[in-house]
């Protein structure tokens, strides 16, 4: 019954759990998985991300039904990165007043925070998100690399500037990394009316 570390639920399982949760399912298996999710940072971050994916796709379905079927590369990209980003990853040190203390935050928690602020933006969906550099070394220069898909009609420079502001503020809130640059690569446009008109 007990879910061990080497027996992590798959994304599919988590996705089904989310569906069951919304349907009010109350089986022992569901409760067991609920308990695991509540105690597992990776799984709860995955559930949070899956909920946001649901939300974004629901928004798109309601506003741009015709495009939805063709326009899913951003979704594939996001899903492909989800598992990687919600792993705990590297341990990033936080400063302490006492030498004997040992404070840290996981790379996965930072990436989840960055994804969280990016998801608050309506005109952009981020795909990949990485911290490049020696994050385990306190003063080492770090580059945040993000790939993004921008909504058709939005001004790309405005959207990416806003994303940069939000990421800067969020990284400062959650850790003490020395961010040298935030590289945003716009890979695609979603919600194009050209496709919708076909």
């Amino acid at each position: 019954m007990e879910l061990m570390n080497n027996d992590e639920p798959t994304l599919d399982t988590l996705s089904m759990w989310l569906q069951d949760q919304q349907d009010g399912v109350q089986t022992p298996e569901h409760r067991e998985l609920t308990r695991h999710i509540n105690e597992c940072p990776s799984c709860s971050q995955r559930i949070a991300a899956l909920k946001r994916v649901d939300q974004v796709s629901a928004d798109l379905v309601s506003t741009e039904v015709a495009v939805q079927k063709k326009d899913t590369t951003w979704l594939d990209d996001l899903m492909a990165n989800l598992v990687f980003e919600t792993l705990a990853g590297r341990s990033i040190p936080l400063s302490a007043e006492y030498d004997v203390d040992n404070f840290s935050i996981t790379e996965g928690a930072i990436l989840a925070a960055i994804r969280g602020v990016a998801d608050s933006m309506e005109n952009l969906i981020i795909g990949r998100c990485r911290l490049v550099g020696d994050v385990e070394e306190p003063t080492s220069p770090i580059i945040v690399q993000v790939s993004a898909t921008v909504r058709y009609g939005a001004v790309i420079a405005e959207v990416t500037d806003r994303l940069r502001e939000l990421i800067t503020a969020e990284v400062h809130r959650v850790c003490e990394l020395n961010i040298e640059a935030i590289d945003i690569e716009v890979q695609d446009i979603f919600g194009s009316p050209l496709e919708a008109g076909e």
Partner: protein, 148 residues
């Protein structure tokens, strides 16, 4: 001289009966501004988990007492773990914890999740301060933020 390491886990929930010694520490951590929750320990030494026969995920407290100059392997003089569903014997075990914990705790570690608006570096420092109020200036505190 022996050293005692306390690993704080989430406990068994708000209204369940809890370990007498660890619950004030838990409460102090949870009362710290910016802390949303406590996560179970990640790397409970497998040796100890095997010794007490419980799954790592259900261990909520492990205390190891090491002899002074013992080799790393010569280990766990006394190791105590409290399993969540182990109602029958948990009180006796808790007394042992109380015994060793109140005398000579040298380090405490905990994994936490923080709230959506919290300043994370400030929050972890505040957690360490709260634990020092209970166990004194000398105690070494390890805080790992695993969820935001």
């Amino acid at each position: 001289m022996t050293s005692t390491h306390l690993v704080i886990g989430p406990g068994s929930g708000e209204d369940a009966e809890d370990s007498a010694e660890l619950s004030p520490l838990r409460q102090a951590i949870l009362a710290t501004e910016g802390v949303a929750r406590i996560y179970p320990p990640a790397n409970v030494p497998s040796k100890i988990v095997r010794a007490v026969g419980v799954a790592a995920s259900s261990v909520r407290a492990v205390i190891e007492d090491f002899l002074p100059s013992a080799e790393e392997d010569a280990v766990a003089h006394r190791s105590v773990a409290v399993a969540e569903n182990d109602e029958g014997s948990s009180e006796i075990r808790d007394e042992k914890i109380l015994d060793s914990a109140s005398s000579e705790v040298t380090s405490i570690s905990v994994r936490i999740g923080t709230t959506a608006q919290a300043n994370v570096p400030q929050t972890v420092r505040a957690v360490a301060q709260a634990l020092r109020k209970i166990h004194g200036e000398h105690v070494a505190v390890t805080v790992d933020v695993v969820h935001i």
